[in-house]
Subunit: 462 residues, 2 copies
């Protein structure tokens, strides 16, 4: 049925409707929902996307803008017969401008290809994600992807110079082009960043790039109190503007990683908290000042132990301890993952509260806390205890998640730091946005998509 | 009449309606419009602003959100009996968080006070404007103010972490608070930045800060072709991520400055183009690499001459030559100023075209071109020639400005780089935004301000 609606717009080979395709293109990496698309369309350029949207508007067909489908909040899912419009054929990189430090491409380009193309010219696209090998840049933009370097480089939002979009009204907009300075009316480009495909299709983009750093030296340290981390952050920031990561994890996390990988424990003593601080292109002067800083910190007992990386290999090993946590728990255990954020200065108090809450709620489970101190983003992983069945565990998680969200709201935090709302967190949006705020979002949605054909039911219901 | 509408909301001393006040608060630094407010209200907190907006909504009274009134596009003008709501009494700085690098304050705080407060804690608010001593931070946000450091630090948009606003519906929204990472629905914060007071009042904000640089060394050089500037920009960017200004001006500009100030000509030879490159906290290694780079550039004749500043005084003198251009022409001549931008890589071609166009159009006038190479922002100043009366000159400017705007549109540029649209450039918005785009802006305006009471007629007509 839906297939026929579009058959004059695309060649047969670019309209898929096998059961397998409708299932595979219908879900993302969040496996809580089953894919049930009615067809999959594969446009190759903006004009084709426009024709599809115009036709869908006439016939009131729901469309799902689809990238690499690496999302974790079911933002790009077709769960009730919608038509998926995948941008996987829109992979042209039009060019890199070295003096401007920009790249212009179609939205279906894989994130890693952009990183690689930049690197070939001594340039750097600093948004780096675990899913960079599969995610598409259009999806990164639609979800304002973050990653590990947010403390220095911000999220995807900061790197989007211009967008070409097709709105739900079927109109093509060029938003800002390649202009660094432009003050001519509302910045719809920023509105599209993070709108999770509910306002329009992102079809092309121009991204900012920066200079490729030469090295990524790292400092590994341990502390007894989380509040000391803020002191270290403050001092480190007074030394350098180039702190490109400030990660933390607890002893419990370290134990999980060491149990499943052949890393050595970095210190002979066990400490409650560990930190990895990355300082891109650290200068000799900075290195000297960091050594003085940590000598003072040791004296004052703000940190308990510290190692400066002596090689890139050692620096990489430090970061591996942090980066393997998520994968280790996901591969070997039944785990409930939470992606939340609070203001940076609230991290110590929030961590204390959430740890206490989780331990008293999830008795017998392990509570793993890790994340990015520099940007307030905390990963709370709850590992199923032996005394609970899988079903009991997830039932408990569902029953108790509102207590965690209430705690987030108390600290003026976000129920989604970087994964987005999609279908998964729609019922919890009100912990981060007020009723009038959501009502305004509905109003804006109606302006850009009056027929409600774009990604219906994601973020909020109309 | 209007005074009575609000007299139960504010004490008498905070409702002004003398002829002088209604005139003074009714215009900004753009003197093309006369101030004709019917009253001026001086709220002290967000609740009072909310009460004013709610009352105005009930009685359909037009309100003008008003900051330091330093704008140059008549964005904050009351020209037909509107009520000005000045935030000049909302000057509380609530606090600075050093670890987070944030400052939280009311929207009426003077920009310079924020810069100063940050500096006291070794921090830096990098948005610096000629009007920083008078402009208010709320106005900076509402117009997405830029300034001289955009190449490194971006515009105000990049520094706004959270906003509190009162929408045209009289609702208070807290947009993002102090969160670095937050992916929970549309980013209305970004929509408010640059919306020129047409969607709501900005009442409070949390700004990001960064580390205070220790020094601002500068390189002064001359070139024969503007296209060489892009080559220099590219090479300079390959050396350092800390290029914080890349300014240019022509020999004609230099002559105007030297005529009215006691500076020395930097080179004994006259060159067509001059550049000032600022590299914050230049390291010894960077200094060495810049010297190598410029040795090559001289060899290849990409630059004709170069001086590295040997002291902050000398570095400041370099920048003075550039910074005095605007003031010199404004103080001593009759001049038409244009604030435009094009993609960085289009600067050489655009400058060639605009110079040719201006010279053939404004015969006998001097054409002064200067601005920011790094962010594509060009100031085109046309100085009245002796053969024209003042009236003839401005009539000619009005008659010919569309030819300049057409040239900007040809290069996909912006008719306003940083001054905004306001009343002054409303008729030229279509050179930078398409009809469907403007129609969407109208739709969004109606969502946030259904009664059309906020800054009516600015940017576009409803």
């Amino acid at each position: 049925m839906s297939r026929n609606s579009f058959k004059d717009l695309l060649p047969e080979s670019r309209i898929l409707d096998s059961v397998n395709d409708c299932e595979a293109y219908g879900h993302d990496w969040c496996r809580a929902y089953e894919g049930k698309a009615s067809a999959v369309l594969l446009p190759e350029n903006t004009r084709e996307v426009q024709a599809i949207v115009q036709r869908a508007g006439e016939q009131k067909i729901a469309l799902i803008p689809s990238g690499g489908r690496t999302g974790l909040s079911a933002s790009a899912t077709a769960t009730s017969g919608e038509v998926v419009v995948s941008l996987e054929r829109m992979r042209k990189i039009y060019g890199i401008d070295i003096a401007e430090q920009t790249i212009h491409c179609q939205a279906g380009v894989i994130t890693e290809q952009i990183q690689r193309a930049a690197k070939e010219h001594g340039l750097y696209y600093p948004i780096d994600l675990a899913s960079a090998g599969s995610s598409q840049i259009g999806g990164n933009i639609a979800t304002n992807a973050g990653g590990i370097h947010v403390i220095r480089y911000g999220s995807t939002r900061q790197w989007v110079l211009g967008l070409e979009v097709v709105t739900g009204r079927g109109e093509i907009l060029n938003l800002n082009g390649k202009l660094v300075k432009n003050q001519t009316g509302y910045d719809f480009r920023s509105l599209f960043v993070g709108s999770e495909g509910t306002l329009g299709f992102i079809t092309e983009c121009t991204l900012r790039l920066t200079r490729l750093p030469r090295s990524f030296p790292r400092i590994f340290c341990a502390a007894r109190e989380m509040s000391d981390a803020l002191r270290i952050l403050e001092l480190a920031r007074s030394v350098s503007n180039s702190i490109s990561a400030f990660e933390f994890f607890t002893e419990a996390c370290l134990q999980y990683v060491l149990q499943h990988h052949s890393f050595r424990r970095p210190f002979s003593t066990v400490y409650p908290y560990y930190f990895v601080i990355e300082v891109e292109d650290m200068t000799d002067e900075e290195s000297l000042r960091f050594q003085e800083l940590f000598a003072t910190a040791l004296e004052q007992a703000w940190v308990s132990d510290v190692i400066f990386s002596q090689s890139q290999q050692q620096a990489d090993d430090f970061m591996e301890l942090r980066e393997r946590i998520g994968e280790t728990t996901a591969s070997h255990y039944v785990v409930q993952k939470n992606d939340i954020s609070v203001p940076v200065s609230s991290i110590p108090a929030f961590l204390r509260d959430v740890d206490e809450l989780a331990k008293s709620t999830f008795v017998g489970c392990d509570i793993l806390l890790f994340g990015h101190v520099g940007d307030g983003n905390i990963h709370l992983n709850i590992v199923k205890g032996e005394g609970l069945s899988r079903d009991e565990f997830f039932a408990l998680c569902r029953a108790k998640e509102s207590t965690i969200f209430e705690l987030i709201a108390k600290y003026h935090g976000a129920v989604s730091a970087e994964h987005g709302i999609g279908l998964l967190k729609k019922d919890y949006l009100h912990y981060s946005r007020t009723m009038p705020d959501v009502e305004l979002m509905r109003g804006v949605k109606r302006v850009f998509d009056p027929d409600g054909i774009l990604n219906p039911g994601k973020i909020f219901d109309l």
